[in-house]
Amino acid sequence: MKFSYYPGCTLSAKAKDLDEYGRKAAEALGITLEELPEWQCCGAVYPNATDEIATRLSSVRALSKAKEAGQTLVTLCSACHHVIKRVNGDMQNNIEIRQNVNAYLHTMEGAEPYEGDAKVIHYLEMLRDCVGFDTLKSKVVNPLKGKKIGAYYGCLLLRPGKEMQMDDPENPTILEDFIRAIGAEPVYYGMRNECCGGYITVEDKDQAKKRVNAITGNARNSGVDMLITACPLCHYNLKKNADEPLPVYYFTELLAEALGVK
C-alpha cells in the first residue's frame, strides 16, 4: 500500500516522535508513506470565515499534489487533518470558495483547477480502513498487556462530525479499537472528546489549565494510567499545563512499541 503523506510543521520540529514512530510503524505494516515533495504549513486552524481564500491555499496545494500522484493523502497531526479535510470539503461543496481559490491559483501559479477530488484520511483511518484492526492485531509482536489507556480525542479529529466523517463525534470508538488492537485495555472517561483549550494556551494560560485539569482529573478518576493523543498541541497542553499530569503519549509511539520497531 502506498500513500502520499503530509507531516506538517509541528511534526518536523517539536513533535518529531509522532512523525518518526508513525513512519516506522507504517513501514513495519508494509505501508509506503511518500512525503509530498513540497508542502506548506496548513495554517493550524481551519479558516471558519467563508470569505478567507489565502488561508485555504496551502491545503489545496497539498491536496492537488496527492491528486497528481494518484494517491490518497494521509495526515497524522489532528490539527493538520482537521484543516485539510475541511478545506477539501469546501472545495467540493462551496462554489464560491472553489471558484475563488482556483482563480487565484490559476492566475498566480498556472495551476490546474482543483475540485476536491483527492481523498484525505487520517493515519488512524488508514489503520482502521486500509490495514484493518484485526490485521494490525495479528502483526503485534509486543502486546502492551495490562496498560490502562485513556484515548484522548480532543475536538479537532471528530468535529464537525458531518465534515470530518471519521467516527461518531459523541461516542467515538476508533482510538479504543486501536488500543485493543495493540493489546492494551481502553478506559472510557467522559471528557475524552472535550477540548483541552489548545490554542488559548498562548492567550490565557489559566483557562487552558482549567480545561486540562478537568480532563486529567476525570481520566484519573476513571482509572486511566496514561493518555494517548494524535495532537501535538493536546500533548503539550496535557503534559505541561496540568497540575497533576498523567503520562501522555502519541499513539504512534505505542504502535511502534507494539510492532517491535521502537
Partner: protein
C-alpha cells in the same frame, strides 16, 4: 455600516445562520469556555440577530472561545455558533490596528516545549 447590513455581513462570513436559533441553550450547555465568555454562545447568536454587534466586538468572549465546535456539533438547528463567533472576531480584527496579539508579544509567552502550531494558531486567531 447600517445595522441590518452588519447582521447580513456577519451571517455571510460565518456560513451559519443565527435566524434558525430556537433558543434552546444547548450550545451554552456544551461550551467549555462558558465561564470565561461574558456573553454565552446562545446569547451571542441572539445578539447578532438583534444587531448588537458592536457590543459583541468589544466583549471578552470573542477571544476566549476555544473553537472546539462543541456548540456547532450539538446545535439541533445548524446555527453554527462557533462560526458566528469567529465571524465577529475576524470582522473586529480586520479593522486597522485591531490586532489582539502582536508578533512582539510572542517571545514572552514561549517555553521550550511549545509546539509550532500553538504560535501559528494564535497568530491566525488573534491577528491579521
Amino acid at each position: 455600516m447600517k445595522t441590518e447590513d452588519m447582521i447580513k455581513e456577519i451571517t455571510r462570513i460565518s456560513g451559519g445562520n443565527p435566524a434558525k436559533c430556537m433558543k434552546c441553550g444547548k450550545c451554552s450547555g456544551a461550551c467549555p469556555a462558558y465561564d470565561e465568555m461574558d456573553y454565552h454562545p446562545h446569547q451571542f447568536v441572539n445578539m447578532v440577530l438583534d444587531g448588537r454587534i458592536e457590543e459583541l466586538a468589544g466583549s471578552k468572549g470573542i477571544w476566549n472561545c476555544l473553537s472546539c465546535f462543541a456548540c456547532l456539533e450539538r446545535c439541533p438547528r445548524s446555527v453554527e455558533p462557533a462560526r458566528i463567533i469567529e465571524a465577529v472576531r475576524v470582522v473586529t480584527l480586520r479593522k486597522a490596528g485591531a490586532n489582539h496579539l502582536k508578533p512582539d508579544d510572542i517571545p514572552a509567552r514561549l517555553d521550550d516545549d511549545i509546539p509550532q502550531q500553538a504560535i501559528t494558531s494564535a497568530m491566525r486567531k488573534y491577528a491579521k
